[in-house]
Symmetry: C3
Subunit: 350 residues, 3 copies
Amino acid sequence: MRHSLKEIAAALGAETLGDATLVVDGLAEPGAAGPDDLAMALTPKFADSLAGGRARAAVVWPGANLGALGLEGAIVAPGGRLTLAGVTAMMDHDPAFAGLSGCHPTAVIDPTAEVPADALIGPFVVIGPGVVIGPGARIGAHVSIGPETRIGAGATLHAGVRIAARVRIGARIIAQPGVVIGGDGFSFTTAGPSNVDRAMRQRGDAPLPPPEDGAWHRIHSLGGVEIGDDVGIGANSTVDAGTIRATRIGNGVKIDNLVQVGHNVVLGDDCLLCAQAAIAGSSVLGPRVILGGKAGVADNLSVGRDVVAGGGAVILADVGDGRFVSGHPARPTRDHRAELRALRRLARGD
Amino acid sequence: MRHSLKEIAAALGAETLGDATLVVDGLAEPGAAGPDDLAMALTPKFADSLAGGRARAAVVWPGANLGALGLEGAIVAPGGRLTLAGVTAMMDHDPAFAGLSGCHPTAVIDPTAEVPADALIGPFVVIGPGVVIGPGARIGAHVSIGPETRIGAGATLHAGVRIAARVRIGARIIAQPGVVIGGDGFSFTTAGPSNVDRAMRQRGDAPLPPPEDGAWHRIHSLGGVEIGDDVGIGANSTVDAGTIRATRIGNGVKIDNLVQVGHNVVLGDDCLLCAQAAIAGSSVLGPRVILGGKAGVADNLSVGRDVVAGGGAVILADVGDGRFVSGHPARPTRDHRAELRALRRLARGD
Amino acid sequence: MRHSLKEIAAALGAETLGDATLVVDGLAEPGAAGPDDLAMALTPKFADSLAGGRARAAVVWPGANLGALGLEGAIVAPGGRLTLAGVTAMMDHDPAFAGLSGCHPTAVIDPTAEVPADALIGPFVVIGPGVVIGPGARIGAHVSIGPETRIGAGATLHAGVRIAARVRIGARIIAQPGVVIGGDGFSFTTAGPSNVDRAMRQRGDAPLPPPEDGAWHRIHSLGGVEIGDDVGIGANSTVDAGTIRATRIGNGVKIDNLVQVGHNVVLGDDCLLCAQAAIAGSSVLGPRVILGGKAGVADNLSVGRDVVAGGGAVILADVGDGRFVSGHPARPTRDHRAELRALRRLARGD
């Protein structure tokens, strides 16, 4: 996207220095920026690479000296990463759907589905009976949407997203390629006590004898999934259907790649789940919970609002509001660190 | 699905209370159930929400009082979650394939493939040369099946499942969207000792110098995959092909989402692998092994029958029959817990 | 593939014993090999199963006695797994693309894309505007390639691979089914300090109060992905686009299944990432780093050349060249093992 510094600054509520009519058509790191790029130099640590490079325009820190940096124009960053959010949004020419217009003739859309005239529907998309798609939706190649599912306005479903039947999604979802929403929950039962029940009960370490009947009986997933507005879901992540009520994801939730959200889970608004995190069946997370990469929550737990779980933390018991936990099993981060230090001293013989 | 209480009770081998001719067309939690739902109230803890709700019919615990609960009819649950399995199976109208009949005209089926007349084949399915599909199979949109693969009777392959060449699958598999079966094993070798070999051998902590030749040479995967009957595989899970013999998955095995099964692995009957579990190349698991979420098994190990590994356990050595292990490295759960307690006391200075 | 022992030995630079004109058409384990198979018996531990089986031909260890093993011909293995690499490569009839020739008529290829005449393009492939595909590429069913992406010579993209816009890939990549390259990075910011910032700063364990504004603002991913030559990527793995410069993967890198490579990451040549490993945003790994299964690297870190991280290791701080680390948090493996031993002794009361 081509914009003048003036246009970008206006959108950010920022000020300009020097020639505000300069037009840029891309973003770059300070040292790699060419004459048509806007160099991103949000802190003074970039001063040398900016001065030594070919950039004519940059986003700079408050107090930066245009001349010393060899720039012809600049935007003064009002606020760190929020500036980065604003600038990247403006400069994104959003190429994923380039070349598409309207509904591709190869798409297979059930006659009972409602697809608005302004939707972009890519090649080989399959939309089942009774589906309702909101206005402005963009649906990439090879996406499949199961019967009776509803998807809100402004949705972006990238190539190969799989949405099963019985799913309700709010406005403006962005689903990266390979996301699966509404697959069956992993819910099975044995006729007698399962090996997990037996192992837990026994506690000691005498080995379990074989059970009388080890067969697993499937509990079907009838509850579907309900997802709020402004949700993002990363590549190849999976959200399972609930058993007799929906798995629920609140507004504003952001989910990274390869994350698992189990059946019946409830995620409060604005939760953030980093890559390879997982939440087992029926656990409930309050709003704004953050799970670091590879963190996990066992089944049937309650995790309060504003909990932060460090990378790799495995939550095995309920966690109260606002707690910061780490380790496996997860415990207060302060305690976890104290234990790591104590163990190190022990091993060294201190 | 619409069923009378009498029909459902007959299928479960259960008794009814009150008006057994009542017809229900969905399942619901006790407090959320409407007048046409069957409320699931398997224990007395649901008494209040049932009595306060609008349900006319419910599955109740033995001894429940119809009148006190405000119900017109009920089914007395013979056995907890097994009841849930039976009721959810009956009430599932199984919408994933709604609107499909026979073979969709867009499917690309090699003329040498055998596809039975009663199979459901969705839009844009690709079936390669020499493939044999069993009777009653249901194959969702965008599934691809590689050359010479065989899939047994009653298979359900949901949208976007990828099955490579050289795969043999038994009857009644259910594969969720995005499953990949038969991709290449992760098998590479270096000309000299690899960095892993060198690091293991050295043991000390002097840093490794660069190797003479760090290039990885691919070992091709010729062995394919063999899967038994009644297997379930969760969304975006992966099962790799064996090297010179098949990777093998026994009958009744259930695999959750985002699970990795490496090349040459052998899984005994009725194993259960929870989300994000992984088994590295050439390890052998006996029947009925349960791996909790995020659990792992290193390569070339033997894990006995009826072993239970807790969530996040990482098995780095052989495990005998019937053992319950936890932690990383996995050890007897009793020992692991004792170590966690000892560490906590140490850090507190007790 | 059918080859004589002589042909195979010539390709490997190996010697033959007995009848070198014997023709084999498959590989097998020594005990399972039939009369047309080449049994793989690289060490003397296979002597009994070879002698007791039906194999007429085998790859054997130096010094093996043809007559005592009941063989008519043999190839003497010059070097362990490198031999396995060579033999499996020769015997692989590479069935994935069997039955395909040229460009399948169902493929949707933008008129501005450059697709060479010798490429194999499978059914329902979608290739966007401005894409350039190198000679000899093989692209499986249902692959989608976004606008302006370039893919080098001899690429193999298996079924259902998703490559977004702004991606540059070198020669001879092999991408297993379900790989996603170039999805959006997981990059969000809050207007004020995030809960992670607040939890880190506080250190104590008083619970966090709710923030004033918990909404996440998206930082767009404009940088794409650059991948070198001879890279392999496993099923359902994901590589995210960079923010303002490309995420970079060096030559010869091998990535297993279900691995996450975050935005802005740089991987040096010949790195090897085992299943379910993950690297968070902006971390830089030197050449030949090996991450064991389930290992992780936190964001914004530097990991030196030839580092080996054991299975499940979680790297939370920079690591110098050539180090061998284990545990969570990752530390020198020698220290980690000493800590495990000390803890075991502590719990036992030794």
